[in-house]
């Protein structure tokens, strides 16, 4: 009896201590995110629908109670303005377009890179992985800024081409979609390579032998086996590239020009040039709702349907 009782209490104690540890491990990062992501986001959301006082400086409370009347005041004019001013819609599409192009180029360049890295001899892989992450050792800002020196009218590339008599006048590369895309691809490609590499390196190569054995040419085997089995890596990599690209501010600011409208820059202008916090908040909230929510749903669907075990 005693023994059974001891085991019982010990078991319960162990259960609680284990749960406590698990809750702490999960709870700390979640607590951090709630405190520093969700709360600020709610503040931004509140600002975007708040009306200001007569001076236009202080935001009023959304709900007020006076004389037995509970009043809600939700100002939607900022959102209505977003839909009426073509600037915002254009910027939105432009951001999605550049982020999409960036993701696509990262995938086209990064996939073969990840593929050959995963198929290289095991002893070479750590060195190759190191080289992918090497750029992170220098400041991101410096690396982006360095492109200016290469792409400028007076930059290295134009100078070499003129010196070689390939061209007479410098090619306009800076402050265009071209320069901005180069900067974005250059910055984000490791985020595509690493998850794709992780799925490819885990793949059972006998599956490719099986495909060839069943009559698939190496090219067919690649499309029918390797690509579907690396889908999770492709999706993860695309998310990691696409989501931050949409809201990217530094690269459009340094390498982009008047033709490269990005939501990040509009946000900056609204906040710091126009000082219209309410409008800026509305832009930020719309961006989250219009881009991130559909992506999150898509991601969830992917995770549910694409749960391929045993890769």
């Amino acid at each position: 009896m005693n023994i059974a009782k001891n085991i019982g209490t010990n078991g319960i104690r162990r259960f609680f201590t284990r749960n406590w540890g698990r809750r702490t491990v999960i709870g700390i990062p979640y607590g951090f995110l709630i405190l520093f992501f969700s709360v600020p986001f709610l503040v931004v959301l509140k600002i975007s629908v708040s009306s200001t006082d007569a001076l236009g400086i202080y935001f009023q409370d959304l709900a007020s109670y006076a004389d037995g009347i509970l009043q809600f005041k939700i100002k939607l004019s900022n959102y209505i303005f977003l839909t009426t001013d073509p600037l915002y819609i254009e910027t939105y599409w432009s951001s999605v377009k550049f982020a999409g192009i960036n993701t696509l180029i990262c995938l086209i360049l990064g996939y073969p890179f990840a593929y050959f890295m995963a198929r290289s001899p095991a002893r070479m892989r750590p060195a190759l992985l190191m080289m992918v992450s090497l750029p992170f050792w220098t400041s991101y800002l410096l690396r982006v800024y360095a492109w200016k020196g290469l792409l400028d009218d007076n930059g290295v590339i134009n100078n070499i081409l003129i010196w070689l008599h390939v061209i007479h006048d410098p090619i306009k590369m800076m402050y265009t979609g071209f320069s901005m895309t180069i900067g974005m691809v250059y910055t984000y490609i490791p985020f595509m390579i690493l998850p794709v590499y992780a799925t490819l390196v885990k793949m059972d190569l006998r599956l490719l032998e099986a495909a060839k054995d069943l009559g698939a040419t190496p090219w067919k085997a690649f499309w029918l086996v390797t690509v579907p089995l690396s889908k999770n890596g492709i999706v993860a990599g695309s998310m990691l590239v696409f989501i931050p690209s949409v809201g990217e501010y530094v690269i459009p600011e340094l390498l982009g020009g008047p033709s490269t409208l990005m939501i990040g820059r509009v946000l900056w202008d609204e906040f710091f040039s126009n000082n219209d916090w309410a409008m800026a908040s509305a832009v930020a909230v719309s961006m989250v709702v219009l881009i991130l929510v559909p992506l999150a749903i898509f991601n969830k669907y992917q995770a549910d349907s694409g749960s391929v075990r045993g890769i």
Binding site: A210, D213, G215, R309, G310
Partner: protein, 382 residues
């Protein structure tokens, strides 16, 4: 299990459906397969048997086309396949781990090879249906491989190989991933399916029991070479060398030298006793030879065997040694005795438990006589 294939040694020759001619494969100067030649008959199940690293898998992978031979030729049904890529060979392989495509359903896995051949859709559907019927997996057609048990996965892999009606089926450790009970059931089922389909088959295994149960002929491999090629019975009863005798089943080995060498019998002296062998061997007097004796061929009794018990009067006084029972292991269908002979050597003797009640119980520590027939002695001269 019906063996439809004619016994190759009965006919004296083997047709050359699969012809392997002086085939070698070197990896960095190390010969994994060393100058191997082999003919396999149409419809035959042929097993490559050996411990790991003996070159059996390399040979199989060369047949599949995953490795290119360093030298030598391979022909399938008269066609030179040595340098043909795997996707052009009429050969399909069942992988040890099955290598089922995890992103495809059972149905799509079986259809994979047929689609590559550009077969019309309705024919594919028909073919996949019939293959899944053979392996009894029709209700599982829409499942993904990870939703199946090991035995079911193995059957999907088999259906996928057979769907393309290959001229040659390769099995890489076909039952290696299954647990023991399931393996025994599957062995017979697998042979039945292969025989019914009538496909020629080469399998690789390290499990001698599996090879003996499933194969029509076996090649025992060591260090990239064939030590012996023959029927399971041939390999078990007349092993060609010490390694084969030792590798296949249990065996008691004695060292001795040739004492009497007559055309119809020989006598070999070992420290345990004189062995009378009722057939001639090629050898010279005083030559060192090995004797192999299977545990189930030895009789045990409390008294010295009488002349009436012996098959040939000449054997009297030979093929018999006294010893003490050192250990008894009861396995149910048979009992294994460890008998320490007076010479100091311990031999294994297995006796079948045909009757439920043994009349003369043998006990540990008891003195016994171990004796055997001269026809059961295998003399190994190399």
């Amino acid at each position: 299990m019906v063996r439809t294939v004619a016994n190759s040694t009965d006919r004296g020759e083997v047709s050359q459906f699969v012809k392997i001619d002086r085939l070698s494969k070197h990896f960095d100067e190390v010969a994994a397969v060393d100058n191997v030649s082999l003919n396999i008959e149409k419809g035959e199940i042929f097993a490559l048997l050996g411990s790991s690293g003996c070159g059996k898998s390399t040979l199989l992978r060369m047949l599949a086309g995953f490795e290119l031979p360093t030298s030598g030729n391979m022909y399938l049904d008269g066609e030179d396949i040595a340098n043909m890529p795997p996707y052009e060979r009429h050969i399909n392989m069942m992988f040890q781990s099955y290598a089922l495509f995890p992103h495809l359903t059972v149905w799509e896995n079986v259809a994979f090879g047929l689609k590559r051949d550009g077969m019309p859709k309705d024919q594919i559907a028909e073919r996949v249906e019939s293959m899944l019927g053979i392996v009894k997996l029709i209700p599982y057609a829409k499942r993904k491989p990870h939703q199946l048990s090991g035995g079911q996965q193995q059957r999907v892999a088999l259906a996928r190989c057979l769907a393309k009606s290959p001229k040659l089926l390769l099995l890489d450790e076909p039952l290696g991933a299954l647990d023991r009970k399931l393996r025994e059931e599957t062995q017979f089922e697998l042979v039945n399916i292969i025989k019914n389909v009538g496909v020629t088959c080469v399998m690789v295994t390290h499990d001698q029991e599996e090879a003996m149960i499933m194969a029509d002929r076996i090649a025992v491999m060591q260090e990239g070479r064939f030590l012996q090629v023959g029927h399971p019975r041939e390999i078990y009863e007349t092993p060609s060398c010490l390694f084969v005798a030792d590798f296949i089943g249990d065996v008691n080995l004695f060292n001795g030298k040739l004492e009497i060498d007559e055309p119809d019998h020989v006598v070999i002296a070992t420290p345990e006793c004189r062995h009378f062998v009722n057939h001639g061997i090629t050898g010279t007097i005083d030559m060192q030879v090995h004797i192999a004796l299977r545990p189930e061929k030895i009789c045990l009794q409390k008294h010295e065997p009488t002349i009436e018990q012996r098959q040939y009067p000449a054997e009297h006084g030979h093929n018999c040694a006294r010893g003490t029972i050192e250990g008894i292991a009861y396995f149910g269908k048979f009992t294994l005795f460890h008998v320490r002979l007076d010479s100091g050597k311990t031999i294994k003797v297995s006796r079948e438990n045909a009757a439920r009640h043994e009349e003369t119980q043998l006990e540990r520590g008891q003195q016994v006589y171990a004796w055997w027939d001269g026809s059961d002695v295998v003399v190994l001269t190399n």
